[in-house]
C-alpha cells in the first residue's frame, strides 16, 4: 500500500510514542502491535520495521506475527468498510461467492484496500444473525440475504462508479438470478465464477 503525503511522518511519530510506553522486550511485541494498530487502524510496514528494531528481533518475525493473527490488518481501513461473513451459515449459503463478487468488482483481494482508499474488504466470522445468511456488514450496517447481484447495488449506493464493461459482465450473473435458486450454492457456484 502506497503511503500518502505526510503519512510516513505521522506513522513514525505515532510508533515512537507507542514504543515509549513499553519495555524494549520481545515479549511486549503483541501489546505494542495492538497499540500501534489501535492508533493507526492498521500495521504499516514502516511501523513493523520500527517495532522490530525497538524489540531487537528480525523484521520478518514481526511480519510473521502480524500475518498470523486475524486481529491485525496490514492495509489501512477504507472509507467504506465491507465485511463479508464467512461463518458457517453464511458459508453454506454462498458467502464465498459474495466475497468473490466484491473481489472482482473492487479489484482487490480479501484483506486489501482499494488504491483510492475508498473501500476495504474483510472476511469476518459469525456476526450473529445466521437466519439472514449470507450477511455482509457495510460500515457496520447489516445487509441480509445478499445475492451476487446485490453486490453492485451496495457498491453503487456507496458511490462506486462501475464502468460499463463490467456492468455487462454483471448482467450475465443477473440473467440467472431472478429464478432465485435459494440456498443451492452448488448451482450458483457455476454461474458466479
Amino acid at each position: 500500500m502506497e503511503l500518502m503525503e505526510g503519512e510516513l511522518e505521522q506513522i513514525q511519530s505515532v510508533v515512537a510514542e507507542v514504543l515509549k510506553k513499553f519495555d524494549s522486550d520481545s515479549e511486549q511485541l503483541l501489546p505494542i502491535l495492538q497499540a500501534v494498530q489501535g492508533r493507526l487502524g492498521y500495521l504499516p510496514r514502516e511501523a513493523m520495521k520500527m517495532v522490530a528494531a525497538a524489540v531487537e528481533i528480525p523484521e520478518v518475525d514481526v511480519y510473521s506475527v502480524g500475518t498470523f493473527y486475524n486481529q491485525f490488518r496490514l492495509n489501512p481501513p477504507g472509507k467504506n468498510q465491507i465485511k463479508v461473513c464467512m461463518g458457517t451459515a453464511c458459508h453454506m449459503t454462498g458467502g464465498n461467492i459474495i466475497m468473490d463478487s466484491f473481489e472482482r468488482r473492487l479489484e482487490i483481494e480479501e484483506g486489501e484496500t482499494t488504491k483510492d482508499r475508498e473501500f476495504s474488504l474483510e472476511r469476518v466470522a459469525c456476526v450473529g444473525c445466521c437466519a439472514l445468511a449470507p450477511v455482509v456488514l457495510v460500515n457496520d450496517e447489516v445487509e441480509a440475504k445478499v445475492r451476487p447481484t446485490r453486490v453492485d447495488g451496495i457498491l453503487l449506493g456507496l458511490g462506486k462508479e462501475l464502468n460499463r464493461k463490467k456492468t455487462e459482465v454483471g448482467t450475465e450473473d443477473k440473467a440467472q438470478d431472478p429464478a432465485e435458486p435459494k440456498d443451492i450454492p452448488a448451482q450458483e457456484e457455476g454461474d458466479a465464477r
Partner: protein, 228 residues
C-alpha cells in the same frame, strides 16, 4: 553434544554419564539426556523426521513423524523431544505409530508438488527416504490434492524457493535465525496459506537475505534448491 541438552541433563561436561536404552529389542549405550531421535539415528535406527535439528534447544516437533512408543507411556511420543533415561524401552514400530506416520505423511504429500523426476532433491529427499524406510507410497490416495500455486522465487543467484514443495518444517527459518543470524525469512500467514517468506513477502533478492545458502543446506526436500 551435551551442551544442547543441558536443560534435561543435570550432568554437563565431558565425562557424560552413559545410559543403556533398548530400541526394538537391541541395547544401546547413549549419553544421558540426549534426545531419543538423535540417539537412535546415531546408532543406525531410523526414525522418520523432517523438522528436527539436533542443535535446536526446543524442538518444534511440528512434522509429527518421529513418533515412538516408550514403555510406561500411555501414548506415542515424539522422539525429537524425548530425552533418554536409563532403562528406557522404545519401540519404533507399532500399529498405532505406523498409522500415525502414514496419515501424517499423506497429509504432507497432499499439498506437495510431487514431481520427483524433475526435482533437484531427487535421491536426497527426506520424503523419499521416509517412503522407502516405512514402505509408504509417494502418492495421495485417500485425500484430495490441494496444490499450492504460489509462484517459485528464483531471484537469488544460486538457489530458488518453491513454496509448492515446502513441507513447512521450519528448518530454514531456524538456521537463518540461529546459524546464519540473518533474519531474512520467517513463517508468514497461517492455515493453508502459511509459507516461508521474507518481510512483506518480497522476493528473496530484494530482502536482507545474504544468500549464504545455509537454508538450502537445511531444507529436507527440494523446496529450497541450488540452481543447476
Amino acid at each position: 553434544m551435551s551442551n544442547n541438552n543441558g536443560n534435561n541433563n543435570g550432568n554437563n561436561g565431558n565425562n557424560e554419564k552413559m545410559v543403556t536404552i533398548t530400541i526394538d529389542d537391541k541395547q544401546f549405550m547413549v549419553p544421558e539426556g540426549k534426545r531419543l531421535l538423535w540417539a537412535a539415528l546415531e546408532n543406525g535406527v531410523y526414525i522418520p523426521h523432517l523438522c528436527a535439528l539436533e542443535e535446536e534447544e526446543k524442538p518444534s516437533a511440528g512434522c509429527r513423524l518421529c513418533f515412538v512408543e516408550i514403555e510406561g507411556f500411555l501414548n506415542p511420543v515424539t522422539s525429537c523431544t524425548q530425552p533418554v533415561k536409563e532403562g528406557m524401552i522404545v519401540r519404533t514400530r507399532s500399529k498405532r505409530i505406523d498409522r500415525m506416520v502414514k496419515n501424517g505423511f499423506e497429509l504432507l504429500l497432499s499439498n506437495h508438488r510431487l514431481n520427483c523426476g524433475k526435482c533437484a532433491a531427487n535421491g536426497s529427499c527426506e520424503l523419499q527416504k521416509i517412503a522407502r524406510e516405512r514402505g509408504l507410497k509417494l502418492r495421495v490416495s485417500r485425500m484430495r490434492k490441494l496444490e499450492n500455486d504460489a509462484p517459485i522465487d528464483d531471484s537469488p543467484e544460486n538457489f530458488s524457493y518453491d513454496p509448492a514443495k515446502c513441507v513447512l518444517c521450519g528448518r530454514c527459518v531456524w538456521v537463518d535465525h540461529n546459524m546464519a543470524k540473518v533474519g531474512a525469512i520467517g513463517m508468514v500467514r497461517r492455515g493453508m496459506s502459511r509459507r516461508v517468506a521474507t518481510f512483506g513477502e518480497t522476493a528473496l533478492a530484494e530482502s536482507n537475505c545474504t544468500q549464504c545458502g545455509e537454508c538450502v543446506r537445511a531444507c529436507p526436500v527440494g523446496a529450497l534448491a541450488v540452481k543447476e
